[in-house]
Amino acid sequence: MAKMHITTTINGEPTEFLCEPYETMLDVLRDNLGMTGSKEGCGSGDCGACSVTLDDRLVCSCLMLAAEAEGHEIRTIEGMSEGEALHPLQQKFLETAALQCGICTPGVLVAADALLKKNPNPSETEVRYWLAGNLCRCTGYDKIVRAVLETAADLRGAAE
């Protein structure tokens, strides 16, 4: 069976790849394209470690076939910083130690970025519900939630 030839956009770059019809977007990102920032935690959409955006909508890349990327736009953790300049969320997570082992962190950052683009001024409750699908076994979530809220406040301050 011939592989499928997919033409898509990843982190703003026109990208082509070959994949099997059953391969997930996560498989292709990690194994074909060398973009290993997105993690496989559960492979069943429960943990959020593989979070990416598909046409700016937050999804689990383990629950998406790579073939579905045809003609669409994917953004991953690799596209979050601008070169060496970290995204404000990344910077805040470092400064406030909002991570421990780090496996969940790429997914949390992609999810938090999607939230702040949609809602620049979320309440703590809104942050907690939005991130309910990003499981962290280390932090107890408080530092993550506070880092997201502080980044949101910084970004609002910078926008004024």
């Binding site: 019809p21 492979g43 069943s44 959020g48 076939l65 519900y129």
Partner: protein, 289 residues
């Protein structure tokens, strides 16, 4: 999984043709939040995956000429939530759909997939049943319309014929002072499967309920339409005696399983409790509208 194929047709005729030609070896892909999990677990090994999201009708949200809504079967909860008016008219339908899974899952999961997956605990289905939604399906022999409650026939089973694809849900026009609500009982607040789900749709005239539909999830092999509960509410002021009667009708309709999420006795009792709580929310919303 070596001989699997993927197609993403742009017309419904092509999708039905490919799906029917595969004679049961094909699976429909909408949001994929059930299908990909089932494939990974080895529960299903489709020879053909028919991605229906490129078919315009399956991804559309439209007003019907009668003033209702038509929701494509593949529309995700996140997209429906962003619709400017749907959630104002049918808040209960929307809250049921968007109780499913995480933000990530809501970005993909559709009510159509939830219905066709056939789970008795499907959170988006009681709301659609209470709404009186009609499912449109299309197969090799043409198109037909069936009430949503007639689609599931048991856990994982539907009344769709071989080759038939769920196309859309049509929700009726809403009289003034109508609204709905959905509540589910789970031991936590998020990311769980209903122990009991209850949807109530009401029309109010002042303090009097003039029309009602009640649906329960997770208490029987399929989502249930509970007509006796609705009858107990109609032409009452939703007083305690009427609510007790409707709650008893809900408990009487239950035919649940015992499992780790809840016992038969617990589910049966909670069905009545949820009826009262859900009715109160729907009535408050209806009076406000």
């Amino acid at each position: 999984m070596t001989d699997i194929q993927y197609v993403a047709p742009s017309t419904l005729d092509e999708a039905v043709g490919a799906y029917a030609a595969a004679k049961g070896a094909a699976r429909i892909l909408a949001g994929g939040t059930d299908l990909l999990v089932q494939m990974r677990a080895g529960m299903v090994k489709p020879g053909l995956i028919v991605d229906i999201k490129k078919v315009a009708e399956l991804s559309a949200i439209e007003k019907t000429p009668e003033g209702g809504f038509r929701i494509g079967a593949a529309v995700s909860g996140a997209v429906l939530e962003e619709h400017p008016t749907f959630g104002k008219v049918w808040p209960g339908v929307l809250e049921g759909l968007n109780l499913i899974g995480s933000t990530q899952v809501q970005g993909r999961a559709s009510a159509g997939g939830n219905l066709c997956n056939g789970s008795p605990a499907a959170d988006s289905i009681p709301g659609l049943v209470a709404a009186g939604a009609i499912a449109t399906v299309q197969g090799p022999n043409g198109r037909r319309n069936i009430p949503v409650e007639q689609v599931p026939t048991g856990p994982g089973k539907t009344s769709l014929a071989p080759g038939e694809i769920l196309v859309s849900f049509t929700l009726p026009p809403r009289p003034a002072h109508s609204s709905d609500a959905y509540l589910r009982m789970i031991p936590r607040t998020e990311m769980d499967i209903a122990v009991v789900g209850c949807a109530v749709s009401l029309t109010m005239d002042g303090d009097t309920c003039t029309a009602a539909r009640v649906s329960l999830g997770a208490v029987a092999p399929t989502v249930l339409l509970v007509e006796d509960a609705a009858k107990a509410l109609v032409l009452t002021k939703l007083d305690d005696a009427s609510l007790d009667k409707a709650a008893a009708a809900c408990s009487a309709a239950c035919n649940p399983i015992d499992d780790k999420r809840g016992t038969i006795a617990y589910r049966t009792k909670v069905a009545g409790v949820l009826l009262k709580r859900t009715t109160a929310i729907a009535a408050e919303r209806a009076k406000g509208g």
